[in-house]
Symmetry: C2
Amino acid sequence: MTLQRKLDRAAALAAIASVVGAKYATADEAALAPHLVEPRGLWRGRAAILVRPGTTDEVARVVSLCRDAGLAIVPQGGNTSLCGNAVPYEDFDGVIVATDRLDRVREVDVANNTITVEAGCILADLQRVAAEHDRLFPLSLGAEGSCRIGGNLSTNAGGVAVLRYGNARELMLGLEVVLPDGRVWNGLRALRKDNTGYALRHLFVGAEGTLGIITAAALKLFPLPRERVTALAALPDAAAAVALLGRLQTAVGDAVTGYEIMSRIGVAMCLRHIPGSVDPFPAPHPQYQLIELSGQRADGSLRAGLEEALAAAHADGLVRDAVIADSLAQAGAFWRLRETIPEAQKFEGGSIKHDVAVPVSRVAAFIRRATEAVEAALPGVRVVAFGHVGDGNIHFNLSQPVAGWTTAAFLAEWERMNRIVHDLAEGMGGTFSAEHGIGRLKRGELVRYRSAVEVDLMRALKAAIDPAGLMNPGKIL
Amino acid sequence: MTLQRKLDRAAALAAIASVVGAKYATADEAALAPHLVEPRGLWRGRAAILVRPGTTDEVARVVSLCRDAGLAIVPQGGNTSLCGNAVPYEDFDGVIVATDRLDRVREVDVANNTITVEAGCILADLQRVAAEHDRLFPLSLGAEGSCRIGGNLSTNAGGVAVLRYGNARELMLGLEVVLPDGRVWNGLRALRKDNTGYALRHLFVGAEGTLGIITAAALKLFPLPRERVTALAALPDAAAAVALLGRLQTAVGDAVTGYEIMSRIGVAMCLRHIPGSVDPFPAPHPQYQLIELSGQRADGSLRAGLEEALAAAHADGLVRDAVIADSLAQAGAFWRLRETIPEAQKFEGGSIKHDVAVPVSRVAAFIRRATEAVEAALPGVRVVAFGHVGDGNIHFNLSQPVAGWTTAAFLAEWERMNRIVHDLAEGMGGTFSAEHGIGRLKRGELVRYRSAVEVDLMRALKAAIDPAGLMNPGKIL
């Protein structure tokens, strides 16, 4: 780098810092550190500076200065991505734009069932604000205490209520985005219907910050459910889970809000490692199905419907045993079993993770075939499959064998296991990334499994909107 | 045109015709005529040839030949667009690609709640096939007997069940599209979750055929409702409609499937002109609210919930009178009142139409203010406002005054009335086109009401995907 370029670059960084003020800009190594590391420590990147704009206008001015100076940008929300999306690469020398100070609730329109918020709102805060207005914001996932809605939208987050309410994309009505050229696109219309040209808002959802920075969003709200029934059913196999779902949806429709499968091996890991875990039935069972229904009637009709459906399924051999929670505490215990599986897996050594989806009709066949295939390829591997059966989305995780493997040796099998599992899912009309996205981790998979036509289209969009390639470089594409 | 160019052009058209075979290609004036005229006769265009491909591959070969020859394309489904989207311009000399022969149902996956169909399927046929599998395909609108699903997706059709099930976009999981360069993009994944890069499928929905030709789609199905309750309520004003909706949603949630408002003037027009129409109440009322609930329980709980809510609303003065249909025939009569308003309007002279949406919370204010404004600007004008209150979507139609105006003179006020109504809707955070789209009719409005940033983004997308501008030229942009 010539002296002149160094001076220009220093001047640009100084100008960028001055947009947000010294208090909210840092190049200090210790202050930068938490923003440079992937949450599980998989990667550790670099950056010249981190800025924390307080307004959309500040974001726009920062982006505009970056464009003029040719500085790349990594937008960062809660940095909870599981695909390395929110952290810069090792050779990155641009700007991290953190959205944490953009955390205002701009409007709650109760009669319109919408809330308009800035990108830095923490998901759990947004849920709380909605509840204060007697409304539900249904997006719910493990990281909700620290992830931010801008990141949820940029990665099209899923979670445990997608079956009933859709993923982040479906909850979004409008966006405000700072484009790569520093202009602000105000598409914050809180409308159920708006057919005025191309659906720009959908372009930015799931784009992982590669096409611009989402600064605010208009989101859907729903009536707060007045009745909630949670049950745990013991099943002979995963096929029973799909059959039972069909019966429940016929019986109570969209009241089926959550529908999470767990194999015995995952439940057993919780019982071993998570304090307070209780085996839900006297005897072990191959699969456990967490069922949550919610609705508005509060007249006991949901519970009655669930009891009928479970009794009929029991008579038909689909359900071996079942318990409907009699208290919020019991319902909470069922959910904790499900939610602590990834935590419990950590005590069992290395874990190779997959976030696949297949058509719901093929979930059982997928689990069976994938289990057989990985067990044949790596004898002793322990399949910990759990997740959102109702969306066809299975977290098909693999724990290392009980004996004979170091964690490092097991994790070295990552690519080989990915190939087996992703080949199977894709071959069944499924996908290698259901809700976690692409980020840095799955760029190779995208090119492998998506057609040249599809990848070309994505590249054309990227080139059209971010011709200089400055937005979150090296992510997705 | 030089002789050589004429010969080249003739050769290209012959090659295009030979792709589909002589039987399915025509340049005959009489055969072309119905494909060249807007359904209401607003515009009559031209075309060199019409082809009716029978497979996606044939579509791709036609498009590829058009690209090579520089021939523009107008894709055409059922030609029921109300914005002049499906007919060519007066000076068009390219190719109409009709999708009517692409009418196969490729797959019904009952357990996955999906159906994969070709673009030329008529909407009503699709509904019927779903019902044969004990499933609901909920998209429903006036033209369903002749519109085709490819057109529904290309225009992101709305209709009478959006409140509960979403518009065409929300019912779509995957697409197959022939791109402007003749390549086929196969994005027919029937998955609830698939976060693998940019959401290409959303780009083509609502693009009105300007970015490619949708040839097939994977769509969501739902359990067939087992209980349906239809009611008509007489209301003092539109504000009561919004308040009542909030109460109903709190009481029964998403069971509120249809929610259509009609003013007295529209109902009175039906009573005057539509044979068999019956005044639903002994006395006239300012507004009528058609309410449809549907669900799975079939235990009478929906009817009970509706009765409670209506009784409470009556006690509070929100509802003046109400009747719950006791038979399918009575429910059908309520719906016919609503559906025949546009037909009845035709007997009352000229009609200037608006398809606006505002936030649901502002529907009543919009109707009041827009009514005052148009009555002040054009004394004697008769406001026939009706439509989808639950989506904030009002068909704010204006019938000519009873006396003193010719139809031609009244229709000459179209632009002036548009300005008043669209200025108001946009000023209230609304939109000038809720469900009908842009097509040819509202191109000027798009540039007027959308920011330069937004229009620039749309132009960049169009240039990236259809650089030669051959797909449905002059529509949207």
